[in-house]
């Protein structure tokens, strides 16, 4: 029958439907066979109509059951699958209410699967909130600690161990340890111990702990914030502020040194000017000398301001040269005039050796002069009374060399490579007793380099030093013989 040709599956519902259709068909055929021979034509018609009705009923029943049959077929298929997945669910092609319901069920399962997949992808790429927070805390450069009501560390991030140089085995993994124990080797722990061990105060607090006596050993800002007033748990942050502190110290030293440098000539100018104004019996020779002092101290102030401006440009990396053809012998005489006030403050022997036929150089005269004055200023500062200072110049086919020689305190070999670092000041107490910015040599070296030259240093502790500012003669225009 037609139904049997449409359905080729062996499901029970299908089998029952086929059996029903077959039974009705056989009954109609049997009745027709019985009555064809014995009855009249009216009966034949009735039987034909009955058969037609049975066939129409069968067709209607098959239409009605088609969706159920198809769903039944899919369910039977799923029963045979080892694992059910949304991909194995298929829509049915019919369009009655049962089909609509089935199709919605399939859609819903597919959407849920898509949502699950998306969630899975999101979870793989971005951990949940807790692991994100943990990841962030572990990558922070600041140390983070949580302590309980007894001040013992409940949790800490990795930065704590690295900042405080803790030995992982001995210092961290030995169970709960008091927070202040993390700082047990610190130099000023005792003065802050009461804050570190006060577990009852909930007010936030901040203080600084130093690892050693010197700032360079390490300075840490430790802050406490109460997390739970009821449980007295606290959040501690540990920040390394060593560089910040060093920078502030350097700035303070520079300001102190710069104000001292400015104050000294200012003080001299005021004292001499007031002495002259007070009048009285001042010898004309003294009067003239006093005026000269005022003039030279004013020049010194001018030079200091130039130096400060040069330092400012040097700091900004914007120092440029204003080159002109310059007679070196004249430059050297100007250098001597500039350092005269410094020399007059001490009892030093000074000798300048200026050979004949020095070439003209295409240089920034003011900056070269300032660089040489810096070198000579250092020689004067670091040579005790009774010592000797020399300024020499020499040249050959390749270079012009300016030597500043002294019989001063000298420089330790290990300090020579650091001399030209900005703000570097020797740890020798004979140097730290004397005011200085730590910028003079850095400036002089920058000037030499900008001219394509260099500064060489030779020194022996307690014997003296020799600084040589060397410029290439490519800058030179040799004077005629």
């Amino acid at each position: 029958m037609s139904t049997a040709t449409v359905v080729n599956s062996g499901s029970p519902l299908l089998r029952n439907t086929i059996a029903l259709h077959a039974a009705l068909g056989l009954m109609s055929l049997l009745a027709a066979t019985i009555f064809v021979n014995s009855a009249d034509t009216r009966i034949l018609w009735l039987l034909s109509i009955l058969m037609a009705l049975v066939l129409m009923g069968g067709w209607a029943l098959q239409r009605r059951l088609a969706t159920c049959i198809e769903i039944d077929r899919r369910l039977t298929f799923l029963a045979g699958c080892p694992q059910v997945s949304p991909q194995s669910l298929k829509h049915v092609s019919t369009s009655d209410r049962a089909a609509t319901g089935w199709n919605r069920l399939v859609d819903s399962a597919c959407v849920q699967r898509l949502l699950d997949d998306a969630q899975h992808l999101i979870t793989d790429d971005h951990p949940n909130d807790d692991s994100i927070a943990e990841h962030v805390l572990s990558t922070l450069s600041d140390g983070i600690c949580v302590t309980d009501s007894t001040g013992c560390v409940l949790w800490q991030n990795g930065a704590v161990a690295s900042l405080l140089n803790l030995d992982k085995l001995n210092d961290i993994d030995c169970g709960l340890r008091p927070f202040h124990e993390l700082f047990r080797s610190f130099s000023n722990l005792e003065s802050h111990r009461s804050f570190l061990t006060d577990h009852r105060t909930v007010a936030p607090m901040t203080f600084e702990l130093k690892r050693g006596q010197s700032t360079v050993d390490g300075v840490f800002r430790v802050s406490r914030q109460c997390l739970s007033e009821a449980e007295l748990t606290c959040l501690w942050t540990v920040r390394d502020i060593t560089q910040q502190k060093l920078s502030l110290e350097t700035r303070d030293l520079f300001v102190t040194a710069a104000t001292h440098e400015l104050r000294t000539p200012l003080c001299n100018i005021r004292a001499y000017a007031e002495t002259l104004i007070a009048g009285g019996d001042i010898d004309p020779t003294d009067e003239r000398q006093f005026l000269n002092v005022i003039l030279s101290e004013a020049s010194r102030l001018d030079r200091i301001i130039d130096d400060l401006l040069s330092i400012s440009h040097m700091q900004a990396g914007s120092m440029t040269l204003d080159r002109h053809e310059t007679q070196i012998d004249r430059l050297m005489r100007e250098v001597q005039d500039s350092i005269r006030p410094l020399l007059d403050q001490k009892s030093l022997e000074f000798e300048a050796t200026i050979p004949p036929r020095l070439p003209e150089l295409n240089v920034d005269k003011n900056k070269l002069l300032a660089a040489l004055v810096n070198l000579l200023g250092n020689a004067i500062k670091y040579t005790p009374d009774g010592g000797k200072i020399g300024l020499e110049a020499e040249h050959d086919g390749h270079e012009v060399r300016f030597h500043v020689v002294d019989t001063g305190i000298g420089i330790a070999p290990e300090e020579i490579p650091k001399l030209f670092q900005r703000f570097y000041r020797s740890s020798d107490p004979r140097v730290s007793d004397i005011q200085g910015t730590g910028l003079g040599l850095a400036f002089a070296q920058d000037v030499a380099r900008l001219h394509g030259g260099r500064i060489d240093v030779a020194s022996e502790l307690n014997k003296g030093s020799r600084f040589s500012l060397i410029l290439p003669t490519a800058l030179a225009k040799l004077t005629p013989a």
Binding site: Y272, E274, T275, E297
Partner: protein
């Protein structure tokens, strides 16, 4: 009348010269030093009525010099005019402990320096007289 003996300790020779000039003109006998050790040497050679010292000096600083002098029986009452730079003032309690009532901040006027010098010597004489009475 005997000229008062003053020792000036100042490492800035330009300033030292003008201080000396003004003190000599004001009637003082002046000896100079550039650091604390030299002052002790000068005091050993002959006593002084007044010491004018800068605070910052290479070698023995002005403050170290004052501490040393105040602990020495011969110089504990020596009048000292202490000079320091503006911004580098010494803690008032330290000054009180060292009995340094007169402080002059740089840059100072030579007239103020002379006035202070006279004032300190006058007070020292009065104190010595009341002590002997």
């Amino acid at each position: 009348m005997t000229r008062r003996q003053v020792i000036v300790a100042e490492d800035n020779r330009v300033l030292q010269d003008v201080i000396r000039f003004n003190l000599v003109r004001a009637g003082f006998d002046v000896r100079t030093a550039t650091e604390g050790g030299q002052v002790l040497q000068l005091l050993k050679e002959s006593p002084a009525d007044l010491l004018i010292t800068d605070c910052q000096m290479p070698g023995m600083s002005g403050l170290e010099l004052c501490i040393h002098l105040r602990s020495h029986p011969d110089y504990r009452d020596l009048p000292i005019l202490f000079c320091t730079a503006k911004g580098l003032e010494i803690d008032p309690l330290t000054l009180q402990d060292l009995r340094l009532p007169a402080i002059l901040c740089k840059p100072f006027s030579p007239r103020a320096l002379i006035e202070k010098a006279h004032e300190l010597i006058r007070e020292s004489v009065v104190a010595a007289q009341s002590h002997s009475n």
